[in-house]
Point group: D2
Chain length 350, copies 4
């Protein structure tokens, strides 16, 4: 009953097997190998577009390297207040960009809106050289609140970005979960909607440690490889990073994993909604459930072996809010067991 | 016959197996897991000293993060001209330290001398605030020329550092090879000789991608974890990084791998020395052979399927110098085949 | 009728004269001169405390250099949302600190409160290495809203900082105006209240371009001089920077200038308050007046030759808010003329 | 007899007078003033070319800001080993560029050669992403050894830079002295010879603290203003910086000052050359004399009140080398008195 995070989950067996499959013989280092080339080809196919692809090991690295190619040190990145890049990466964007700033926007569900971008840009014009220069927007898909932008929503943001000369980055740490929910093609959710660079996450969805930075415009990737190298993010034995991504894409494992995790989250959310005193406070569109519940119930669930985190309070909700995250490895039994504890608690608690 | 680099080699089977062994169940992320704890305990035992240990995926990250904890942005790191941190990390030390400088020293065999440090410090005193402040020395063990500092040599550098208030870092990308050659304990080669921080390499010696930054003085590690996080070097599923190190240390696999690679290099060096027209230009003390040889021989070896790099010229040697690197996976057959090509070339070439 | 900013004002004649007075003969460069020494002695006397003093040319440099000595690149500085360091220095703190973050707090009048610091620190504890580490607080005195912290208010912040292990910086771009208003000693407003470092401003109050960074604890100044040099903020002919500060302190010119500017602001504020339809929205405690007024009145004042800026809207006030800044060189006639335009407008506008 | 540096000299009276001349009334801040506009027009005229001009207070700031616009953080700047940017700015280029590296070249007289650039670029091609990317060359005019590049020499470097896609920066801290010596137009020495950006120095040649960064291609200046602001190098009362440059250019004061300083250096050099045991080790082409002399003579000169610095040793010269710098304010009497001491010492010392 571990719903603490999708990063507590193990790797998919197929991904582990892929490591063994490439573990023979001398292979050219630093990415000049066949498996890395195959990953590039697979992603071009998945996204139906020419792509520049660079594998890295962590989502923080993917995001920070992507942003460093998009903004100057005197620039700014517009993002949601809850964005992982703003709250959970210990200043990685600031470090990688050389001191650019994040301009954060409030949001009810983790999604930002085109008119918020317009408003920032209207203010930015007035300040001239005294203010940092907004050069990019970063959105998270699925969001930190477990919600998913529709293709139309992304496209509206893309249009706003183009109107203001801003680049658009997508933190896709849970991109697979978003694609499954959106029910449209990866292309529709990204470059067709105006995304310039995507952090394509695999770690939270079945890899050991693997992400890909995907540029849809090769010109934007200039300098990326040297930035990656000097950040210590270029693996010498890159085959072991690429092999993970290769297996992740093979036979759409990434979508199968995400679909399973999403289903488990829906089941968890529906089950909890039926428990008196519990309120699911965000739509369950990916693999996360945010639920307000009374303290005694939280204590019960923890005592029974449930693992999860308390989250930031939701305005207008007095109860504590907990976050429950499912993964490719979450079982129906775990979900059922967790819900059973919650349901049994009802009689005791109320 | 791939002697291009030890990073073209595959991973040791035991290390790959360790990944499978930890691939079950939900495990606390970001290092709060049992295997990471075990790695820490193993390294404390190996070094016979309390240590602060932080795993990262690449040697460049290990070095740059270590140096960033030792020097200010207005500081300087003294190192050999050929040091990997100076020539092959695309400015990673400058990036991670916030712009500190490297002060490079010439050396005939990759080793720097205490009197060179004395000379730098004598000059540094004169310049005051107009000059960067040397705060650390970094040495590579084994060196970029495949030579190995003795414990006494390291201790002499350690004494010079203490005399000048400098910290001493060791880039141990090939530390295992050095320990085998030096024939003394890891402790004797490091903290007992004045090393403050060690980049303990595993990638070149059998891991997929794993290094450990080891602080022998916990006070020096202050801030390291936030630096690692904002560099995107903290794995969420850290068990897969630690498991590699765990298997690497288990039953002294690291020393066995290194000993094998060193023996292969010695065989290669001895064999080449016997070829007329070939001159081994550095002592073969680790897993690298530097050999000057006529261009026609180089062409022959390459045509026969040999992989290796031309290296920088050696003063006083007109022939090209090639670097041949062995690894844990190099076979006696590969070495023999390569030497056979060289020996057969003799009749043809001279 | 130029109330656009105190930086549109000329220099005090005595400060200009001081430049001429030191303009003879060869003088040791980079601060090893008599006038720089005298400035240090004067400031020790003004603050009744041993001080480390380093002159720089701009307030942005003073603030950013001060903060860079107080926080690590992975650190954070807590400040008001309107703080100059956050809104008007184009990312200088981020640049100088190597990417530290500003954590901004809302405030009604430009002043932050100890309990806001407590709240930030309570949240900071939870995040561990995923979050930047708050290491300092920066307050502006007088504030960006023209208000002044009392000595007791500063002391309460100082106590909160000590309780949380935070350093306390004061952006004193208008420190003279604050001292005059507070009616207490410079010591009482600074080190006696817990201030660790002060950006002591002179430019806005009569200098051409001169500020002093003042450390009340010499240990905190470590590395400052090299940071200043590498920032290109160390003047070779430092006598011309120090001479400005020397004249600024001589015979309390700084307090006389500030007192005059404050009186002019009070006169302006009182006069405007008497105009129907105008509302002064912040206490006038230094040399700034923030007044909400109808657009037609703004147009009238501008047409009559008044210079001033529109400021950010004030919650609950529908009229535009303008900022009017007085200086040491503002005359009673200018104030009277401006008020006359406003008063005459009354009949026309309403 | 102060020959320690041209930065120990006072300001030209005309420059000081210019400060007084602009010291009246409210003037738009941050450069939107008439005197700044006039400086721009003057420099366009002096250089016979459209220019983008940004005043700053120090040469280190001018150089570092210029270089930061020319190279990426993963880039490199090629320069002479003795270059001020490499040896005397405490890492300012590294700080401002975000960690780019300097690639230094040996030189006998402070000048670098096109073939040295070719050699660096030949090596750079091999390393790929493991090495920083050379993107600019910086030369000092006059050099740190008091020599002057001819227009043809600069043009040859310019051609090499264009051939390799490198930008060419000139550190003109002593540009006036070079123009006087070269006997050609400022245009011929700069943009006509391939210079992209010039640090146009005034501080060492009569200003209090004033330099101008001059871009000959407006496109290269993109972002400069925000970089200057966030570096704390944008004066609010910019009129006082621009007024210095205005007076410096008025009636060619800059050339008159430089011509005088150069003449004084020639007189000093010729006089010293006639002293037995003294050897002038570099051509005297600007305002610096480098002379090898016996220690007892050095002691005599210092005892008689001479101020100067010992310089780095010159290969093949066993005597100490001293540097003597003249300025616009150096008098014939000072030179004569100094030479008299040297000549009188002859009888005593030999």
């Amino acid at each position: 009953m571990n719903f603490a995070s999708d990063n507590t989950a193990p790797a998919s067996p197929a991904i582990l097997a892929a490591l063994a499959a490439v573990n023979h013989g001398a292979v050219a280092s630093y990415g000049a190998d066949a498996v890395t080339a195959r990953v590039r080809a697979r992603l071009a196919s998945v996204f139906e577009h020419a792509v520049v692809v660079h594998p890295v090991a962590t989502g923080t690295a993917a995001n920070a390297l992507a942003l460093a190619t998009l903004v100057h040190p005197y620039g700014a990145v517009i993002c949601a207040e809850e964005a992982h890049i703003s709250t959970d990466e210990c200043g990685a964007p600031e470090f990688y960009t050389g001191g650019a700033k994040l301009v954060t926007l409030p949001s009810a569900d983790g999604k930002i809106l085109p008119q918020q971008i317009d408003a920032v840009m209207a203010r930015a014009g007035a300040g001239g050289v005294h203010h940092v220069l907004p050069e990019a927007v970063s959105i998270t898909q699925a969001t930190e609140w477990g919600t998913v932008y529709t293709a139309a929503e992304v496209a509206a943001l893309g249009a706003a970005c183009r109107a203001h000369g801003l680049r658009l980055h997508m933190d896709g740490a849970r991109f697979g979960n978003a694609v499954v929910q959106a029910g449209c093609s990866p292309a529709a959710l990204t470059w067709q909607a105006g995304i310039d660079v995507l952090s394509f996450g695999a770690t939270k969805n079945g890899a050991l440690a693997a992400e890909a930075v995907i540029f849809f415009d090769p010109a934007l990737a200039e300098g990326f490889e040297r930035r990656r190298k000097r950040a210590g993010q270029l693996w010498s034995k890159l085959r072991y990073l690429s092999a993970q991504l290769d297996a992740y894409l093979e036979a759409d494992l990434w979508l199968a994993n995400a679909a399973h995790a999403n289903r488990m989250a829906v089941a968890l959310g529906e089950g909890l909604s039926a428990v008196p005193g519990v309120r699911v406070v965000q739509k369950v569109q990916a693999n996360e459930v945010f639920a307000a519940m009374p303290e005694p119930l939280i204590a019960r669930l923890e005592a029974a072996g449930g693992h999860f985190y308390r989250w930031i309070a939701v305005p207008g909700v007095s109860d504590a809010v907990v976050r429950l995250v499912t993964a490719h490895s979450t079982t129906r039994d775990e979900v059922a067991a967790f819900l059973a504890v919650a349901q049994q608690a009802e009689g005791v608690l109320f």
